[in-house]
Subunit: 389 residues, 2 copies
């Protein structure tokens, strides 16, 4: 019986790139709370003792950026120089500029060459869904997130007091080549930052028993499953001290773990006039509703935009032979049931709210919290009916 | 006859994210020129009037980082405050730290739990090749790069003196669903920064006649092909003044334009002990040789690593039904003909040289310059023979 491997990874909220993402989205949320029509592109860099806030922000809101950055670092858990980073002691440099007026005229409704609200940039975005898990996410990324979420839980509730904020997980899954479904887990990699006083053996045992086993489906673990726990042997230095972090540098962790292509645009810190974010959310919404409607078992959509233009420059759908109705019909149904202009997406998914903080760790997709409107399957029934199923 | 669309984009060397990538790789090259065994993870942020250099560098080399950053900005063409950025007048902040000793013990040969040279990080990487163009790259990304390269050429040789450094291109291509091959170009988007004294109509005409038409294959352009040139209507403010740029934020432009998945790891600024870079280069090398050998018309490989461990944790190959021999055999051939340990990759592709500057704009793959050793097809004949073809 033919098999193949597929690997995805995730990182915890203490990973430096995720620290940067969370600061960017905390600033976006703080602005949106006061000013729904702000234009925000907030980028963050974190390194030993340093937070740099840069990007383009045009807003009437009055926000204390430095305070928000420090509070975000505190919430994540870097509250002690022992951990290599301390929210009180780090430098925070602020260098925001305004949105370029040349871009703004393309984006603002009633201005520029296209009078509709134009896309905030050109670019391509993908959406994806499949029936490997109940949330219609691929198996490896779904469980990679759960591992690092569990690490944070045991750290924060004090059950494993030697855990520190920075961690990474990785799952290699064996797939059945006939069904395309996950069969068993081949390898689990988990690295976690730790206090200096725990040795490698004790750490390995605790991680396997208290983090890995409670999270992964037991039937997917076999006697051959390999566990590689802190394979460098030591991970005391971590977070921004161990590795410079930047906003938008975990875009595959943020999406489908490599199980679908990516257009390249980052999410965190961007208000939804930026299609990099909003159209990728819409793509997930479309793909998930198609799978939920039973039109296909697996669905990938690509959309693309030109800056300043409202209508997408292209829409395409791939169902990898799992479709119950012709792909051309699915493309037609997408055009009929989903308004993929920036304004249509923002309205349909109610995106002008301060909902972005939660998205900035543990994945933007496959989440069950109510903020994640793009995870709703409220279009499935209408799609099904319209497809004649 | 059934058709579908696919879109890819590229950006010029003056795009702010690419300015950051080029500074990071210029610093890497300067270090490698003096110290082959340096560990470099150089991240860059550029914004209005500002360059921030951060990351982790352990080296014996004595390098003037500020000078290299300024020279890179000058070479790209931001040499006048009129353009919103001037290599002489911008601030350059330097905040490099050393590589974490906890990571170093995992990576260094003869240290850590695995005595071989371990991977510099965990992660997944993809390699891809297909027969859509002579360089075995997908058509849309290949030509998207050529458009912005042509923009830079006409800017630098003065033929279109009103061009400025920042530009983006995007190509939507119509594919034949039966053959999977490109049939014609549906839409071309090109935005270029420009001097204030050229109007939109004159700019549009010149861009179509002097940049677009000389580059794209005429048989792929039809009466229906749409040209969207500077669709915001105005693009005088550009570069780091218009948009904050960060290293590693154009990873889809750097690779296959979304025609293949991405593992998420960035390339620029990283020495080849980091598998994010070296194993993605190796993945391209493997996939290209498989297609060049005629084992498949299209080939995608995924590899993954655990930090500190030399052997990949997984290797898998997909040929999308275009294979002439079984996929399992192809995986076997890959293991037999390619040493995918970090050390094996570095030796085979001769990666400890200052060759990275050129990779940081216009794509890491599908290039014909001699530095791009991962584009060689020197394994094709042996693969072919071993496959019994
Ligand atoms: C290995 S670092 C990337 C390379 C780094 N920039 C350098 O210069 O070596 C990437 C991530 O690995 C994790 N990490 C850091 N130190 C580690 C260690 N000693 N063992 C395992 N993982 C570690 C952290 O999550 C960190 O953000
Ligand atoms: C549109 S900007 C991204 C959004 C930006 N951060 C903001 O806050 O509006 C992305 C890229 O588009 C290009 N760009 C900048 N100004 C533009 C304009 N006026 N028209 C078209 N493209 C532009 C530049 O290459 C820039 O790096």
């Amino acid at each position: 019986m033919s098999e193949y491997l597929f690997t995805s990874e995730s990182v915890s909220e203490g990973h430096p790139d995720k620290v940067a993402d969370q600061i960017s989205d905390a600033i976006l949320d703080a602005i949106l709370r006061e000013d729904k029509h702000a234009r925000v592109a907030a980028e963050t860099l974190v390194n030993t003792g340093l937070v740099v806030l840069a990007g383009e922000i045009t807003t009437a809101a009055n926000v204390d950026y430095i305070k928000i950055a420090r509070e975000t670092v505190k919430r994540i858990g870097y509250d002690n120089a022992d951990m290599g980073f301390d929210y009180r002691g780090c430098a925070v440099l602020v260098g925001y500029d305004k949105q370029s007026p040349d871009i703004a005229q393309g984006v603002n409704e009633g201005q520029g060459l296209d009078l509709d609200q134009g896309a905030g940039d050109q670019g391509l975005m993908f959406g994806y869904a499949c029936d490997e898990t109940p949330t219609l996410m691929p198996f490896p990324i779904y469980y990679a997130h759960r591992l690092v979420q569990r690490q944070a839980e045991l750290r924060k509730d004090g059950r494993l007091p030697w855990l520190r904020p920075d961690a990474k997980s990785q799952i290699t899954c064996v797939y059945d080549a006939e069904t395309g479904l996950p069969k068993r887990i081949d390898t689990v990699v988990l690295s976690t930052q730790h206090a200096p006083d725990i040795d490698h053996k004790a750490l390995t045992e605790a991680v396997i028993e208290d983090i890995v086993k409670p999270v992964l489906p037991p039937e997917m673990l076999t006697a051959e499953t390999r566990f590689l726990i802190n394979p460098t042997g030591r991970f005391v230095i971590g977070g921004p001290q161990g590795d410079c972090g930047l906003t938008g540098r975990k875009i595959i962790v943020d999406t489908y773990g490599g199980a679908a292509p990516h257009g390249g645009g980052a999410f965190s810190g961007k208000d939804p006039s930026k299609v990099d974010r909003s159209a990728a959310y819409a793509g997930r919404y479309v793909a998930k509703n198609i799978v939920a409607a039973g039109l296909a078992r697996q669905c990938q959509i690509q959309v693309s935009y030109a800056i300043g233009v409202a209508q997408p420059t292209s829409i395409s759908v791939d169902t990898f032979g799992t479709n119950k109705v012709p792909n051309e019909l699915i493309v037609e149904l997408v055009k009929r049931h989903f308004d993929l202009r920036p304004k249509g997406i923002i309205q349909q998914l109610d995106l002008l709210r301060p909902i972005y903080g939660k998205t900035a760790a543990y994945g933007h997709f496959g989440r069950e919290e109510p903020e994640f409107t793009w995870e709703r399957t409220d279009k499935a029934e209408a799609l099904r009916a319209d497809a004649g199923l």
